[in-house]
Amino acid sequence: MSSEVLLTVLIVLPFLSSLVAGSLPANARNAEVWLAGAVALIGLAITMSFYPDVTGGDVVRYEIPWLPSAGLNLVIRMDGFAWIFSMLITGIGFLVVLYARYYMSPKDPVPRFFAFFLAFMGAMLGVVTSGNIIQLVVFWELTSVTSFLLIGYWYHNANARDGARMALTVTAIGGLALLVAMLLVGHVIGSYDLDAVLASGDTLREHTLYTTILVLMLLGAFTKSAQFPFQFWLPRAMAAPTPVSAYLHSATMVKAGVFLLVRFWPVMAGTEEWFWIVSSAGLITLVMGAYAAIFQQDLKGLLAYSTISHLGLITTLLGMGTPLAAVAAIFHIVNHATFKASLFMAAGIIDHESGTRDLRRLSGLFKYMPFTGTLAIIASAAMAGVPLLNGFISKEMFFTETAIRNPNMFANLALPIGAIIAGIFSVAYALRFVCGVFFGPPPTDLEKVPHEPPSLMRIPIEVLVLICLIVGIIPGIAIGPYLATAVVAVLGQDTPHYSLSIWHGFNLPLLMSIGALVGGVILYIMLRPYLALGVEGPPLMRRLVGQRIFERILVTISWKWAKSLERWAGTRRLQPQLFLLVLICVVTAWFALRPGFGPVKLQLSGWDPGFVILWLVGIFCAIAAAHQAKYHRLASLVLMSGAGLVTCMTFVWFSAPDLAVTQLLVEIVTTVLILLGLRWLPKRFQKGDADHIALPTKLRRYRDIVLGVFAGGGVAALSYAIMTRTAVPDGISRFFLERAYTEGGGTNVINVMLVDFRGFDTFGEIAVLGIVAITVFALLRRFRPAAESVEKPEQQRIQNAYDNLRPNRQSGDTVNEYLMIPSVIMQWMFPVIIVLSAYIFLRGHDLPGGGFAAGITMSIGFILQYMAGGTRWVEDRLRILPVKWIGTGLLIALATGLGAWAFGYPFLTMAFQYAELPIIGKVPMAAALFFDLGVFVLVVGATVLILIALAHQSVRSPKAARSSVLPTHAVEPPPPPTLETSTVEAPGGAS
């Protein structure tokens, strides 16, 4: 297979299999492990196969153009450094999968675990093989998100949730800073390509933006790698399952930060700023982390702080800026990954087999688990830097670098002293780990008797510890060539001569190593009485907890400030918000449009008296409706309809027949809807006269009026200004007018626009209508109105009481008689309305009408039957399945659109032709007609569904009321076939 395919597989496979893993059944533990293990092994094999291509500083690149104009291409780039990281990610990934098989309990939902795990692996591989720096940030953020999901895997646990959230907050903020840094780098260099960036180090270092870029980039790296002052999230992340910790905090997540530092070391390092910021942050982290690690009571907490400290060591090395230090940093990255992963796994086994990770309760476990104990002791020794183990070599390289005579006072004093102190501390905490857990008296308060884990669970540790030993004993053969590959990829021609042998003769670094070992042992012995007290947290630093500061800040920003902001401009009250919205609109429009207005000369001639009267009526309706809305809802509704009719007539007069038809029909349906709704909404009664209204309320209403008048005035000015200016002659409407018939095949330009030119728009619109209808249906389906609104309207109660008093009458007879003539007419109108609807539909393409108007007409036909006969009467005779109508309509419209594909045209391209039908005559057979049919069917379904859903409330209400509110109804005979619970009672209820 070509390298392009292999590189793509390396990145894409983990993500794809993450989807597969997530969709496997919850009990498919073994399938999950096989899948994840296979993916990790395939990744490992692919990475290995690239080894010959990346040695000696060679690079394999695969570029997929995406947005070449913006310099954004997908570049998968494998060089020696990415290679060694990929080896760690896939290799340790495989071991962690194997370990997780035994660690995760059958009760844990493993599909989720492995899905996140694989996605994280993919993101991590993406980070190390990104050849485009923006792409790198994208994968970087993906690691933040996936690690958040992994840390919060046991989300029923508050610690896990908090830890995950803190990790995400800190690392994602860093990622944001990194994105800005990368954008700035792209700005300075003119390319986002990593190779281009690596080739222009001098440009970058000499640029004025260098410091800004450096700080932002370091923010990204330090948050990710838990460097001071962002170290606090890492111990919190220990709430994750141990396999996650073993993976995230040894080989991957936290190494992404130092990866970034190494990746950009050739272009960013070597300046004063770099030296001071990076090495001091690294040194503080190194010493502080090691110090805090000694005093942890949680096994994983100890390892977490030790991880922080080791990352500090790597950062310090990188901060020094010398090529030899960079070599040591890369070497220590690899070494730390191996021994720390094995230690986390050992801690997990101890936790798993003894039921606790608390160092105060653990003791003398060596007797129970000698194999695990031996492995853990070797790994701890590697961590402490004991000779013949890999940790020793890289640590000695570190001592060598710090011991170099340097003209800089800080480097001359602080670095070696800090290094040796941290060395002493690390020996002490390694001893604490080993002696505390495995030696001493047998444990007393464990829940279960500890024992060895299944042998397969130990295999990952055995492999890792073996690597520690081999690298420690024969470093030149075991790791030399691979390390050289990685180092050359980073340093290129600056690669220094370095020796990986374990014996360099008696020199200062060796003395430092011995000093650290001896000092560590002494320190541990001295601290034993204090540690035996079992006090939580390190002395001196106990009060200065980073996470507490972080939480304070978080609470202040996200709660206190948010609260004040909300109080000021909050959503808790709709009115102030709407008021502000309108106010802002008015003010903005004033400032934006003011310059466009000249002196206004009102045009007062040429009035058509008929229309002046019509509009005056409209104005009256609007004002009166607003005035009456408080206590006289029905009057207000009638006035509102008046305003709607004025709008409708305006459309007729000014050449918009389609709008007029639609407006009229929608006005009818809306009115019916409001009537149905008003039946169930509370009525307000005027108490006394208007003077009783409280003054603040009054003031508020005046304020609203003033704002409304201003808004209206602005709109008046706007519309007047538009209307008195001549239109642009060549606006886009010409396009539609000229092509409606020649290309759309219809003479009604509006309809052709809706179903043809803007067909996609209409498709979306009917989809919205369908969604709304189904939402309304879902909101009301199983819902009964509350008891207090169930009471029948007063008029109807009086009428029913009258009926009940007479033996020859039944309850409801009077209502029936009242509505006899209208209801007969309504029933007879049904076929007529259907024919009318068909007529409106068919003429739509050429004359005013169309699917929407026809659909509303048809639904009015249905709702008239409901009004005439009552809900039960209609539903005994007529089965309307509105939901199916909606689905069918949408499918017809969609099929018409897809049909265009069959002829090789884009979606919703409409063909047209005229067909001669018997009796009816010439009918336009445009594909648009089928589309319009879809619109028609959907509109019928949606409108009827909404109306019926509301109307059904009246059928349900008597049931709810029967037992409590109106006992007389209990003896009421079953409703007569007609007119009993008609929806007409709704307006009665509102009047």
């Binding site: 045009q603 408080k630 000014f654 169930w680 909404l681 003479t747 330009v749 803007r758």
Partner: protein, 125 residues
């Protein structure tokens, strides 16, 4: 002609906004109806007021003979009418359900998500 038409649009707006700023759901609903009519009329003015020339092509012609009304605002308004109808019915049902579940139609008193005196969260974890 234009003057009084702008006045009509203006007062539709005024009435709609006034009602929408009310605290009670029913008035807000009625305000939305009036407001959407106002907006439609405002969009309509973009096509200018043209009398008796609907954008319909005579049967024997390929393109409209003389000047006709601007079809673009009309098509937009047609979509707007449909969308505001569906939006309105949704609003109506939500208002109805809100009233039934919360027992009030006063938006000031609808405080399920944000009670008036909410206790602060813990300052640490």
């Amino acid at each position: 002609m234009e003057t009084i038409f702008s006045l009509l649009v203006a007062l539709f707006f005024t009435g709609g906004i006034y009602l929408m700023l009310s605290r009670h759901l029913i008035r807000i609903l009625l305000g939305v109806v009036l407001f959407s009519n106002a907006v439609n009329l405002l969009i309509f003015t973009n096509g200018r007021l043209t009398h008796a020339v609907p954008p319909i092509i005579s049967p024997d012609l390929m393109t409209p003979a003389g000047p006709v009304a601007n079809p673009l605002p009309q098509a937009l308004i047609l979509t707007a009418i449909v969308i505001s109808f569906s939006f309105f019915s949704f609003l109506l049902v939500v208002a109805y359900r809100a009233y039934q579940d919360l027992g009030t139609d006063d938006t000031e008193e609808m405080r399920v998500a944000e009670p008036a005196n909410e206790a602060p969260p813990p300052m640490g974890y």
